[in-house]
């Protein structure tokens, strides 16, 4: 059929603006900044940033799991509401995604600061102020806050699609409500859990704003380091090598998670 030709402009676009740019990243990662000669120096230097890469992956993993634990009951509750209420709650979850995440993160700074809203409240109660900001906990809080909707929405759409007859069948066969949940609902929502964790993990591992605002000044994440290579240190070759390292982490994690679910890749991202 001639219809196939309709995809040609798109494929050309993706080749020029997705595939070629990634090839350029590869090229930069393996060449020298000054001489432009082929070198492995950048990749070797990457070793120094191994702990930063590991720390970013760790914080992102913790945040993804927290999002899963927090997001699941919410998605499950929304899926059980009347259609009208479902639409309303869906809207409430989606709305924050449309607002500037920079300003919302800044609002958390105002809440958590040493002289911030929460600590002022604690002081008026006559208690000692708490160290709420400039630590890993604050970074995790920022990640969970910013990316929680990315967890709830795919979970909700998967739970919604579970055939109610399967639940009825389980009940008929003598399952109590806890068993129905553990043996039917939870396994069937696994694809949503996988895509939710992926959708939280990827932006969380590469963030540079949240860590700049909420983290301690000593602990940069891999996103911060990449940003500085391009914006302040002007070493795009090292930055490109770090980007490759980041991509390697992300794709390894996604491959591991897809192994759990036996996913065919087509339903990887479903909002």
């Amino acid at each position: 059929m001639k219809n196939k030709m309709l995809a040609v402009p798109y494929l050309v676009w993706m080749a020029v603006f997705t595939i070629i740019p990634l090839a350029i990243v590869f090229y930069f990662a393996f060449t020298d900044t000054v001489t432009g000669e082929a070198t492995f120096r950048n990749i070797v230097l990457l070793g120094q940033y191994g702990s930063i890469l590991f720390k970013s992956a760790w914080l992102a993993l913790v945040s993804s799991l927290l999002c899963l634990i927090i997001g699941y009951p919410v998605a499950y509750y929304i899926a059980g509401c009347s259609p009208r209420k479902q639409r309303f709650l869906y809207m409430l979850v989606m709305l924050p995604m449309c607002m500037s995440f920079l300003l919302r993160t800044l609002a958390w700074v105002a809440l958590l600061e040493d002289t911030g809203i929460i600590n002022r409240f604690i002081i008026t109660l006559g208690l000692r102020p708490l160290p709420l900001i400039r630590n890993d906990g604050a970074v995790i809080l920022g990640m969970v806050y910013n990316f929680l909707p990315y967890m709830i929405l795919p979970l909700y759409s998967v739970i919604m699609k579970i055939d109610p007859r399967l639940i009825e069948a389980a009940q008929d066969l003598g399952c109590n409500s806890r068993q129905v949940f553990g043996k039917v609902v939870l396994p069937l929502s696994l694809p949503g859990m996988i895509s939710g964790v992926t959708m939280v993990f990827v932006p969380a591992v590469s963030t540079f704003y949240i860590s700049q605002k909420l983290g301690s000044s000593g602990t940069a994440l891999i996103g911060d380091v990449i940003e500085s290579q391009f914006k302040t240190a002007y070493n795009p070759n090292l930055g490109a090598a770090m980007s490759l390292g980041l991509m390697a982490v992300v794709f390894t994690c996604i491959a591991l998670m897809n192994r759990f679910s036996g996913d065919d890749g087509e339903s990887m991202v479903t909002v």
């Binding site: 219809n3 196939k4 309709l6 995809a7 040609v8 402009p9 798109y10 494929l11 676009w13 993706m14 603006f17 997705t18 595939i19 740019p21 990634l22 350029i24 990243v25 009951p73 919410v74 509750y77 929304i78 059980g80 639409r87 309303f88 709650l89 809207m91 409430l92 924050p96 607002m99 500037s100 995440f101 920079l102 300003l103 993160t105 800044l106 609002a107 105002a110 809440l111 600061e113 002289t115 911030g116 002022r120 806050y145 909707p149 409500s177 990827v202 590469s206 704003y209 605002k213 996103g223 990449i226 940003e227 391009f230 795009p236 980007s243 980041l246 996604i254 890749g265 991202v269 909002v271």
Partner: protein, 279 residues
């Protein structure tokens, strides 16, 4: 258990909206410190409208969002039609390419496009290629997968006989496309367009790597601002945007509810009629 989930959901929603409330309150605060309430004022709003910088930047963001979402919707819908007509292998390959910008961290997409534009600038011997067009290209690139992934399911769900019926009834293939196929996939096209519009309007990470000093969007400028103490008129802008988006969403919600009610009614009438015919 359900009661626990209900209370838990309410707590999570409060958690999601606390920063919005903080910013909205700050926009009416006469003091400059966001954490200290001094008094009530509306002057932040009048300052915002007299301000010659923020509103044009919002205009820039809107221009990029409208143009990029329209281009991505056109290109992406065409692509979805093409992908739908492909054989299995070609289709899987194309979808794998479509997944690249979705799974790649945004910062990598931004960096790779920045390097591409720098390379093009070098070969064309142009000093600064970065500006409106590089932003637009970047936004179209990250919007395309969202359009394709929301149109493609509608094409798969569509009854193939519909097109044949239209052709049998004397439509040319082009008429059949505009009268039947486009109508069937329209919800997917619209949701793809809306999704790209919102993604584009709020995009910071990718824009940050491909913007030029002559054309700056609002999120990028907010980032540059947040390195210094922030002027409270930004909170006023945030609050106004929040209210606008909230109203648009509530409106869409109501329209959708009305639509659904109507289809249900139509379905009931239709099935009642059919029952009468069969008996």
């Amino acid at each position: 258990m359900r009661r626990f989930n209900r209370i838990f959901t309410i707590i999570v929603l409060i958690f999601l909206y606390v920063p919005m409330i903080v910013l909205a309150v700050a926009s009416f605060n006469s003091g400059n410190d966001i954490a200290v309430l001094k008094g009530f004022t509306l002057s932040r709003y009048s300052e915002l409208f007299r301000d010659g910088v923020l509103l044009p930047l919002l205009g820039n963001s809107l221009i990029v969002a409208v143009l990029s979402s329209l281009s991505a919707t056109l290109l992406g819908t065409m692509a979805a039609l093409g992908i739908h007509a492909m054989g299995k292998q070609l289709r899987q390959l194309t979808l794998a390419v479509t997944n690249i910008p979705l799974t790649n961290p945004e910062i990598v997409t931004g960096v790779s496009l920045a390097l591409l534009f720098a390379f093009i600038g070098q070969t064309l011997k142009i000093n600064s290629i970065l500006g409106f067009f590089t932003l637009l290209i970047a936004h179209v690139t990250f919007n395309l997968p969202y359009v394709i992934l929301s149109v493609l399911p509608k094409l798969t769900q569509m009854d193939r006989d519909l097109r044949d019926a239209a052709l049998d009834l004397g439509c040319t293939p082009i008429q059949a496309f505009f009268k039947v196929i486009l109508y069937e996939i329209m919800p997917g096209v619209i949701s793809g367009a809306l999704m790209s519009f919102t993604m584009s309007l709020d995009d910071f990470v990718i824009s940050y790597f491909v913007y030029g000093p002559n054309f700056i969007t609002l999120p990028v400028e907010i980032y540059n601002y947040t390195k210094k103490p922030l002027h409270p008129k930004i909170y006023a802008l945030f609050t106004l945007l929040f209210i606008t988006i909230l109203m648009v969403m509530v409106l869409m919600n109501l329209l959708q509810a009305r639509d659904e009610k109507r289809t249900n009614q139509a379905r009931r009438i239709f099935s009642a009629g059919r029952r009468r015919v069969t008996t």
